[in-house]
């Protein structure tokens, strides 16, 4: 049976790369005594995949891991069993059964479903943006002006070439306050309860300076915009040298887009 696990990644664990996180979960499944499905052959391994690998240094409330089990307890019990073997920096918040391969029209992977993701990007304490952008209000004003441009062009490096890309169409939501973010997000969701995030229980680092922005960006194998690129473009707009270490990126949730109306559905609300 296919299952989808939702987890948080925070604190020092942001320094663990996604391949190591995968290895971590393979071992955690064994410690928790999960009855995993194994590949055949001399080096059998558990079948697992991530929806959208998280970059080094980023924390998250909404990470997804798909796995295959032979047998399973109820979701609540499975969450408890897995949390009992987690180390600080990983916390399981969701577990759900997915439709079996046969029921799905074709083999869907979590990765192919991903269309969009929400982020909170915060200025770390002890860093500055520049002389003209010192406090929260100045930041919000400058960021709005930055977004008001007709096009936001960046140099996107691919393996072969560097080309100019307009990232503006890839930014689908911008907000500065929690309430504002929530209201705007509700407009975009398929139904109000198609989002599993819970800002009250977020593991995101909080900073005293209060300078932060919520961003919803196109994510996935087709179009993928990283929050760091948006911030770099913002610095370019301000004409200030970009410091990638100044910002703490935190992922809030990952969504798929409904084929009919284009509305968003969080991955843990799906059956596939």
């Amino acid at each position: 049976m296919k299952v989808r696990i939702k987890f948080q990644k925070y604190g020092a664990m942001k320094f663990i790369g996604h391949l190591d996180v995968l290895r971590y979960f393979q071992k955690a499944f064994r410690r928790a005594g999960f009855d995993s499905e194994y590949t055949k052959g001399f080096n059998p391994h558990q079948i697992m995949s991530f929806a959208a690998p998280l970059g080094l240094g980023i924390t998250s409330d909404g990470e997804y891991l798909d796995a295959e089990l032979v047998t399973s307890d109820e979701p609540k019990v499975m969450i408890e069993r897995l949390n009992a073997v987690m180390t600080e920096g990983f916390h399981i918040t969701g577990f759900r059964f997915l439709k079996d391969r046969e029921e799905n029209q074709k083999a869907v992977t979590a990765m192919s479903l991903v269309a969009s993701a929400d982020y909170m990007v915060s200025l770390k304490d002890g860093y500055e943006i520049g002389d003209k952008v010192q406090v929260k209000e100045e930041f919000q004003k400058a960021f709005c002006e930055f977004l008001a441009q007709e096009r936001i062009e960046i140099d996107k490096k691919t393996k072969k070439s560097e080309k100019q890309v307009d990232i503006k169409p890839m930014i689908s939501l911008v907000a500065f306050e929690e309430k504002e973010y929530q209201d705007k997000l509700n407009q975009m969701l398929k139904t109000e309860n198609t989002c599993g995030y819970d800002l009250q229980n977020s593991v995101a680092d909080q900073f005293d300076n209060g300078i932060r922005v919520f961003l919803q960006l196109d994510t996935g194998s087709a179009v993928n915009l990283k929050p760091e690129l948006v911030m770099e473009a913002f610095y370019n707009y301000l004409d200030v040298p970009f410091n990638k270490f100044a910002w703490q990126v935190h992922r809030i949730e990952i969504y798929t887009r409904d084929a009919e109306d284009g509305k968003l559905i969080a991955l843990d609300q799906l059956e596939r």
Binding site: G11, A12, F15, Q26, G41, N43, G57, E88
Partner: protein, 632 residues
């Protein structure tokens, strides 16, 4: 949430930041304020290597069982972080609490190979602990050295407060109890060391004076403090099946060199190969109980979630219950996706059966370690493996579908001649010929034979401790000779030849049998930039040569000199149980090409019987059959 010693900015600028954040599965969490003793355990190499070491896991477990002690860990910062720490003046910290190492009571450093010595100095310097023990004061941790290199601690004697000679299971509790009591009574650093010197197995270098003869050899090693013993006795854990196996070992986030459960099935080796230090210093051979090991395997797989388990010992084929243990592991865990990683076993029906069960024959290879190319030289080193063993083993394996063979040899063994070296090429060729005896339609493609040679480095407490080591020029010549000999063989295209660096082996030879006078060379080499010497990309022999020259030391005095039978060795103050008399007798047997029986066949009176247990007290009369077939 744990606070990290390094900033995000630094952690995101260095390679593999997971090396420095701790927080691993099974990490011990204690409140440093609630313990009496803070102990920092160090493996002076990069994290992935240090985390693979079983000894540290054992000690971490023993020390943390004490409620009054918090044992933490530190490894060598990689060169990228080393640079940043020096530039930004960041003190070295322990992984658990992320607190500076200099605030600890103890810094215990394990010395597994000589080429980590510059890393030891790096650890001390980055921790801001004075490099020389004599410069340390009451505020600094006591720096302890342990591990196999302490069987000649003299080259690094000036940098340590004391050494623990022998196996770590026995005396740490006494050390910590004594320390705690001394602290309570407000004793000075020197007084504490005097108490330590009274504990069996502890060597406080400052309490001994070394004098030298005109020819540069050691004249005497005399204690200058009444608390120090004349001879320091090696510590041995005789009850290996009763306590202290770390059933909850640490599991790193990043892939370590040993990313698996390691089950130590026995300690010591019955074989008595004359070049092998481990085979002598870990005497007597002691086996762990089968039931105990089964229980450990179960608990460790459960607590770590590892998907692989390997057996560890010096010669696993000699473990009495090997068949039962291996089949148990396969039956119990094989179906649960756990790989059984086999140690190199004697090739026979059992090992071929096991190998075919746990490995993909097409991808795995057979390993033989004949060590020497001719039977004559194998007799000299007392390596019982015969050409017939190798050829018949290979032949059986080829018939079962294997087609890859790895061969390990040493060059520069005492009495070695050109014929012995040529023997390596001939043996490799004979193995290839065996393969092609199989009808073509039954073969599995071509055969591939990889022969590797390392350079022999004479080690203390071995029968070859008197022997002259080859110079790097001689080594290179021998390498060249073998290269040519391999190219003359019929199956040369099936034989690949790998070799080691000669300079590195020479330096290893200096530290293996060096004395206190080369401590300053080590210091100067480190100060001139030597670090991570065991990593070929960093090893800089020219810097070392300059350090020897600056100190007026001819390093070949330590390597290229046949020692006199009566010579006093820098390590003579250590009592390993195995007597110098026995070692000398073995050296003479070697030169006479005389083989010595293994411990299960007959007691050869090495001296290790004084420990009162292990193989010395087992009647092997009933095992005659077994010993006859186990001759490699």
């Amino acid at each position: 949430m744990r606070k990290l010693a390094l900033s995000d900015e630094i952690l995101l600028s260095v390679e593999k930041p997971a090396r420095y954040i701790g927080g691993e599965v099974n990490m011990q969490v204690k409140n440093p304020k609630e313990v009496d003793i803070r102990f920092c355990m160090c493996f002076p190499d990069v994290y992935e290597i240090g985390m693979s070491h079983l000894g540290i896991q054992i000690l971490y477990d023993i020390l943390n069982r004490r409620e009054d002690t918090y044992c933490e860990r530190v490894y060598s910062p990689w060169v990228d972080l080393d640079k940043i720490m020096r530039e930004k003046n960041i003190p070295l910290f322990a992984l658990e609490s992320q607190d500076p190492v200099k605030d600890f009571d103890f810094l215990g450093i394990t010395l597994q190979y000589e080429m980590c010595y510059t890393n030891v100095l790096q650890i001390l310097e980055l921790s801001r602990i004075p490099i020389y023990a004599k410069d340390r004061t009451e505020e600094h941790p006591l720096v302890i050295g342990g591990g196999p290199c302490t069987y000649n601690p003299e080259p690094i004697a000036d940098f340590f407060d004391f050494f623990y000679i022998g196996e770590g299971e026995t005396a740490y509790n006494e050390i910590l109890d004594t320390y705690k009591e001394c602290k309570k009574q407000g004793k000075s650093r020197k007084e504490i060391l005097e108490h330590m010197a009274r504990i069996e197995g502890m060597y406080v270098p400052a309490f001994y004076d070394v004098s030298y003869n005109d020819d540069g050899t050691v004249k005497s090693i005399v204690k200058n403090n009444p608390n120090a013993p004349d001879k320091v006795k090696k510590q041995v854990e005789m009850k290996l099946s009763e306590s202290y196996y770390p059933t909850k070992p640490l599991v790193p986030f990043i892939k370590a060199t040993q990313d698996r459960v390691v089950l130590e099935i026995q300690r010591g080796c019955i074989r008595g190969c004359r070049f092998c230090q481990a085979g002598m210093i870990y005497r007597p051979t002691r086996e762990r109980d089968l039931e105990y090991l089964k229980q450990c395997a179960y608990e460790m797989l459960k607590s770590t979630g590892h998907d692989e388990i390997s057996l560890s010992s010096l010669s696993s084929s000699d473990y009495s219950h090997l068949h039962e243990l291996v089949y148990f592991l396969i039956d119990e865990f094989g179906s649960k996706g756990v790989n059984i990683s086999l140690p190199s076993l004697r090739i026979d029906a059992f090992s071929l059966d096991v190998m075919s069960k746990v490995q993909d024959i097409r991808k795995s290879s057979l390993t033989f370690a004949p060590e020497a190319g001719s039977q004559r030289l194998r007799d000299v080193i007392n390596k019982g493996l015969t050409e017939e063993d190798i050829l018949s083993g290979a032949s059986k394996a080829f018939q079962s579908g294997w087609n890859r063979v790895k061969l390990y040899f040493m060059m520069g063994l005492p009495t070695e001649t050109e014929e012995d070296i040529e023997g390596i090429a001939i043996l490799a060729d004979k193995i290839a010929r065996k393969y092609y005896e199989i009808p073509k339609d039954q073969r599995n493609g071509k055969v591939s034979i990889v022969a590797s040679t390392s350079f022999f480095v004479p080690k203390p407490f071995t029968p070859f401790q008197w022997a002259r080591m080859n110079t790097s020029e001689e080594y290179l010549e021998k390498q060249h000779l073998l290269r040519n000999k391999i190219n003359e063989q019929l199956n040369r295209k099936s034989i690949k030849y790998n070799w080691h660096e000669a300079d590195l082996s020479e330096l290893e030879g200096v530290f293996a049998r060096g004395d206190r006078r080369i401590g300053k060379v080590l210091y100067d080499a480190y100060k001139s930039g030597c670090l991570y010497d065991s990593w070929s990309e960093f090893f800089d022999f020219d810097r070392w040569l300059k350090a020897f020259e600056d100190n007026g030391i001819d390093y070949r005095f330590y390597t290229c000199r046949e020692r006199d039978e009566e010579e006093v060795f820098p390590w003579d103050f250590i009592d390993t149980g195995v007597t110098k008399k026995f070692l000398l007798r073995e050296y003479k047997n070697a030169k006479a090409e005389k083989v010595t029986l293994n411990c299960k066949q007959s007691c050869t009176g090495c001296g290790a019987k004084v420990f009162g247990g292990g193989v010395c007290f087992i009647d092997h009369a009933g095992l005659k059959e077994v010993t006859n077939e186990s001759t490699n």
